[in-house]
Symmetry: C2
Subunit: 543 residues, 2 copies
């Protein structure tokens, strides 16, 4: 088999999935955030893809394959070339025409839908693909969790009205539940408002890893997943500029960041947002850059756990002498201030003045206020990816279809994504122990590790080969370890690769006409009569 196992943990791998996939010889790093899949990984990814395909087909999806190369023009028309910034890989062809490597396919598919939807009778549609995406992540990390080139299932629904979109959305959400469950992933589903999507709530599927050491947050768009404790994601940096003196700005009736941003014509990232929480009976003033949102898991962590953490009510905010809609981090007394580290990524922010209808220009952390805790508490995908994506998606409601009376109507579009490699990474995060992966049978690259002890012994070699042939004949996928390696090396590698069932053929077992059978998830081995092994293995896999 192409791919060597490694005994030692690679130094660069922080996440268990990254470490184990490298050690098992499943992935090969080409460049930062760019991997080749070795045969073991590819077999598993293909199984995940097949599960995805079956479930999205069952939800009414039609599979297509769109191009990665796209004219930059598509992205300029949608306005997303700017929004994507450096994340968008750009290039020029030999005739100097600007192209992009698509990070997602709303733009192109909209053109395809325009060309192929002539009437309301052509709707609804759910179109999907499993295709390679390119995003120039600022800090690729975590093996397959955050990469620059990756396979993604991206699906797009097109409906004539909100009721139709709800039906499509529900079908997709159910497909997602089925996919995660079939892949052996435990998820917690969180309803999340996504106003820009047009009133329909979206779901986040939060995955909690076994050991509690890592929390992987996976958003349904597949755009982002992170270790929520360590919490690294790209907050757009802003150019340093000299600190300017604070100025009061009159902002009649302005309460939200969105309103403020529009009224004073400053981007949201030049504002500071105040969000109030109650943690163990106390008000917590959270400051975060206006383009970001608070990740409550992270906030809870930096507060040392904070059971019962919740948003404060407007009354609770007022009780502390704060002006909701224009609360200021400046001049606070006796209120704990937790700042997202984005407050240090920029300067001269717009912030509340703590009096109605006024805000302050040129507010700066350290100079004008000092937070008690500064840490990364931003909700990566809401602030970084999902929200941006959602906004961009909303811009795509430009396609029209004629109804029964020939009147033009907007087509409502929904977007749904799953990163295939990321799903594998998340599954391994949840399914491993200290010795290696413990892969669910549905996605394991093979069903069975067949370990032959002492292959130089002819009896063992023949017996193992015969068993291998028999199991394959019975439709089982078998990884036959026929190397001249010690029992220890073979057992360690079998544990590392983590196939559901391990079979051991040894001279002693052959004499007794038995084979040792062990589930990867169990520490107990049993012996099964050689003639019954195929049947027994099939039963175990089904069970």
């Amino acid at each position: 088999m192409f791919g060597k196992t490694q005994r030692n943990d690679p130094a660069e791998a922080e996440l268990a999935s990254h470490r184990l996939m490298l050690r098992a010889g499943m992935i090969y790093q080409v460049s930062a955030g760019v991997y080749s899949y070795m045969p073991l990984a590819l077999r598993t990814l293909r199984k995940i893809e097949q599960i995805i395909r079956e479930e999205i087909d069952a939800a009414g999806g039609q599979e297509v394959m769109m191009s990665a190369l796209q004219p930059l023009e598509f992205w300029e028309q949608s306005g997303r070339s700017e929004a994507m910034g450096n994340e968008l890989f750009r290039l020029h062809d030999r005739r100097d025409r600007p192209l992009v490597l698509a990070p997602t396919h709303e733009e192109l598919l909209t053109y395809m839908v325009k060309a192929n939807v002539n009437s309301y009778r052509d709707l609804p549609l759910i179109i999907y693909q499993i295709q390679t995406k390119f995003r120039d992540e600022p800090r690729p990390r975590g093996g397959l969790i955050r990469v620059r080139e990756f396979d993604m299932k991206d699906a797009y629904s097109f409906d004539v009205d909100q009721d139709g979109l709800d039906v499509s959305y529900d079908a997709m959400a159910q497909a997602y539940r089925n996919i995660f469950s079939r892949c052996g992933l435990e998820t917690i589903e969180v309803e999340a408002d996504s106003g820009a999507i047009g009133g329909k709530d979206s779901s986040e599927f939060i995955l909690i890893a076994d050991a509690g050491e890592d929390t992987i947050v996976l958003c349904p768009s597949g755009d982002y997943a992170a270790n929520a404790e360590k919490a690294v994601f790209a907050k757009p940096q802003q150019d340093a500029e000299p600190l300017l003196p604070i100025e009061e700005a009159h902002t009649p009736g302005i309460k939200t960041i969105d309103e403020l941003s529009k009224y004073l014509k400053e981007p949201a990232r030049k504002t500071l947002k105040a969000v109030f929480y109650m943690a163990m009976g106390e008000l917590v003033f959270v400051v975060i850059r206006g383009d970001l949102e608070v990740n409550e898991v992270k906030l809870s962590n930096v507060l040392g756990g904070a059971p019962g953490l919740r948003l404060a009510s407007p009354e609770e905010v007022q009780e502390h002498g704060l002006t909701a809609g224009s609360a200021s981090p400046i001049g606070l007394n006796g209120i704990k201030v937790v700042a997202d580290d984005s407050v240090d990524m920029g300067s001269n922010f717009l912030a509340g003045a703590n009096k109605p209808d006024y805000h302050l220009r040129n507010t700066n952390h350290h100079r004008d206020f000092e937070a008690d805790i500064v840490d990364d508490i931003a909700l990566a995908q809401r602030g970084d990816s999902c929200e941006n994506w959602a906004r961009a998606t909303a811009m795509f409601w430009i396609a029209h279809y004629p109804d029964e009376n020939g009147e033009p109507h907007l087509i409502l579009m929904g977007c749904y994504g799953i990163g295939v490699g990321r799903l594998l990474g998340a599954t391994i995060e949840q399914n491993h122990d200290e010795n290696g992966m413990v892969l669910p049978a549905t996605i394991a690259p093979y069903d069975v590790s067949l370990v032959a002890l002492n292959m130089q012994n002819e009896t063992v070699a023949e017996s193992a080969q015969a068993l291998y042939d028999e199991l394959r004949g019975a439709g089982l996928e078998v990884l036959f370890d026929d190397r001249n390696e010690s029992a220890g090396v073979k057992f360690n590698d079998a544990d590392l690769i983590g196939l559901p069932i391990r079979l051991v053929v040894s001279l002693r077992n052959i004499r007794d006409s038995v084979v040792e059978v062990k589930r990867r998830s169990s520490s107990e081995a049993e012996t099964v009569a050689t003639t019954d092994v195929a049947t027994e293995v099939k039963a175990m896999l089904a069970g």
Copy 2:
């Protein structure tokens, strides 16, 4: 179904496969040479991929998936970044690191093999992938035949010695024969010398289209396929320069282009090569730029057929007063001269002087000689792609493996490619008639077109739906045309899409408890008892 059929031929499509795929709504053009695959095309491509996978697996292949993004450095080290020129898509990431979009994967895989082959025991290996390639073709054309982004099966064998390479090569060649045959492609296999590959001949699979109107040449590396009659491929242009006076150059013992090029330190593209053929008993003097080779199919075509076309013997050349090894196109009398149009792509060529040990500098077509026929007669893949690729491939024999005694040996690498979309294009070139595609059952997107006439009639709608459910239950793939369209539209579309079998449900048939059954390849329809349809269809597909 996503994708609309078109009644009229798209103006831009010259090749039948291109025209029919556009008309059937199978492909959507994103940009020049960049397509999205609509559901019908994707279903067919997946079947072709599966056939390829099964055959390459049977040949001992292991599937991987390598990245498209690669550091430019890999290509600078191999020397191919320059050789590829503008065909190589280049880009920079956000940290300004130069990257390429891989047009092929010898470079990267060599690194992966170095990391995973520690000993002769790790060999032989056949590694393959079905993956998206990017090549900035100068003149993309022909639908899926010549594109800038395409799926390719690329396989690479690694062996300890020439005997091993021969075994791998033979296994791959057999896999190719099986793949083409299973896809319904008729190929003619041509042995071709490829010295740079190291003594092992390579095969070309030449596909001849049905009607004789088009000849598609597909080389095993998958790099190139062209309509041999119209024959467009990229001959590297040379800068225009002023015509210089002819000079004699002393070239003692120099006979081949290679020797000439080395001796006078001029690239082969600055030379003119003379090749002699016998066509219908007459000597033909063929002139072609020294970096290109003659395509005998094209030559035969420009000579109006020329049955029995063959290379002339040295004796036949001498009989005409020509000096083999230094024959000149200048001053010929009574000998037909056919020039490849590359003689006009450059100036001041080195050519033969028609006396031993001398050549002429600054030879120019039109000024110094006039060909009787000027046309594209170059063997695209030998001159343009294959030969370059082969040369580059040879540079990859830099990986070493230690043998039994720990001595380092070179690993011999073989490269084998098939363009998946191009294979589909070629199959359609061979399998169509004036009404549309006639797809082989093995790769058709569905088995059956189920045409219901007058869907507004409830009896018809119910009957057709029942038959659809029954056929699907029997494991058949059915495209159910349940649109409210006329019989004519439905029949035309069924012919256009070209599924192997068409079933017609009509009120009259329902009264007789029969279904009309027709093979796409036949003009005869028959009626089959409704209860027997599934069995009958399966028998027809198998037969």
